[in-house]
Symmetry: C2
Subunit: 242 residues, 2 copies
DNA sequence: ACAAAAGTGTTCATGTTACACCCATGC
DNA sequence: GCATGGGTGTAACATGAACACTTTTGT
């Protein structure tokens, strides 16, 4: 903001979002899954790309992320965080700076919305869900952006409660552990996992139990006194759709 | 990138940088210090602001950060990382999305450059250095941006080698510890600090010693095999000025 | 000799990992 | 009854904080 030359060089600002959820595969194991949008115009026509769009003058970055998220999935995220601003000169034929967010969706909400779309036949067009481990070839630098989002998720799960963003309000410890295992890509010891999350103080036990197989498992709630992740001094105006 | 309406709403992209270094105060204790620029036009004329400028069509975000950094300090950073993209609608009278970076400068390089400026009388105008703990009132949302940068630095120092970015190629463990202490704002046990950084494998002992007071202290080098911080899958094109 | 910083050793508390074991349910 | 996941106990090990102690210099 100290330069004198004309700033307007035809740089456009786009906002895209890496939307993540857990879906169970054929074996019943949860996998990280995300929606992609098939592009209907050049560049990269017909290629799969991250949901996103141009930033509107009247909306904040986070509002734009929430908007395209709703347009793509019909849902509001359980967690939304800015990932990175990508601005390499040649990442698109025209000059575009993409501010990318990443979001978590509750898997039960995704399933319910999918069922509703099937019932009404009103699903968004050109949107499909993909297993994060088996993505098609993607437009622009979106493959690397997704890699980075998954890396951030794997890191963040170690020092925050973001994994709760995948789960409904009540869940068993096995379900929470399965979420961690899907994110980290490795099995966790159930006994040690229990003690770690219990001592973290982020869980509130309920008096309900999930029955149906073997010994019933106690249901827990997320402790809503604590945010899913510490955003530091980033005040609500910048981190909330408000 | 899926929307149909006209994208061009007069949104401009600025790049600013929180430039951090260590300077010794009157007592000889190192303090985090940063350069600010006095604004010469509205909005916020005469207020202090972060160094920055409009993003040029032909330069990447990181190049823009490096450029304003050089314009402000005459130096290249020892560490440079994107901090956050700020895009609240009313953070400026006109619509501006600011992609903010944070950078570390070696304190010896800053001192040398200051001396050179004094010798030649060619110092950049309207630039002054401030102790991070005693900042004046700032333009826009820049005070909060600096808070966030300092928070990020404090966090990152715990799981990376970023503190080395403040120091010359050779330094004593006491100097490294002083850097950590200035960042964290608390004293560290010299004995435990030594073992922790030694076992981290990021230090290479030399055969030289810093003499002059009491028992000579061994000089160390940073292990250049490892980056100052793990940037994950963000490839060089996005993280380097190249 | 003494002060002060460099550097080593030791102890205690805490957290992590591995794994043995008991518990409660569906079948 | 027995298989299976839910849940508890425990020992081994790694990590970190606190602090006593030795070493080496300048004065």
């Amino acid at each position: 903001m100290t330069r004198t030359r004309d700033p307007e060089g035809g740089i456009r600002v786009a906002v895209s979002t890496v939307i993540l959820t857990l879906r169970r595969d054929a074996d019943g194991a949860p996998r990280i899954s995300l929606p992609l949008v098939r592009r209907i115009r050049d560049p990269h026509r017909d290629a799969w790309a991250l949901p996103g769009g141009w930033l509107d003058v009247a909306e904040s970055l986070e509002e734009a992320a929430g908007r395209t998220l709703a347009e793509t999935t019909g849902l509001a995220p359980s967690y939304l965080e800015q990932l990175y601003a990508f601005g390499a000169v040649h990442r698109s034929p025209t000059r575009v700076v993409s501010v990318v967010y990443w979001a978590l969706l509750r898997s039960d909400a995704v399933d319910a919305q999918s069922a509703a779309y099937r019932a009404t036949g009103a699903a968004p067009e050109n949107v499909d869900w993909f297993d994060a481990a088996g993505l098609p070839s993607l437009a622009f630098d979106h493959a690397r952006i997704i890699d980075y989002a998954l890396w951030r998720l794997r890191n963040k799960v170690g020092y925050s409660r973001v994994a709760h963003g995948f789960l409904p309000p009540e869940f068993t410890l096995a379900e929470l552990r399965e979420a961690y295992e899907a994110i980290l890509g490795r099995r966790l010891d159930p006994a040690n996992f229990r003690r770690q999350v219990e001592s973290a103080g982020s869980l509130v036990p309920t008096e309900s139990f999930r029955t149906g197989s073997h010994r019933p498992a106690r249901l827990y709630r997320s402790n809503t006194d604590v945010e899913l992740a510490d955003r530091g001094p980033l005040a609500p105006e910048e981190t909330r759709t408000s």
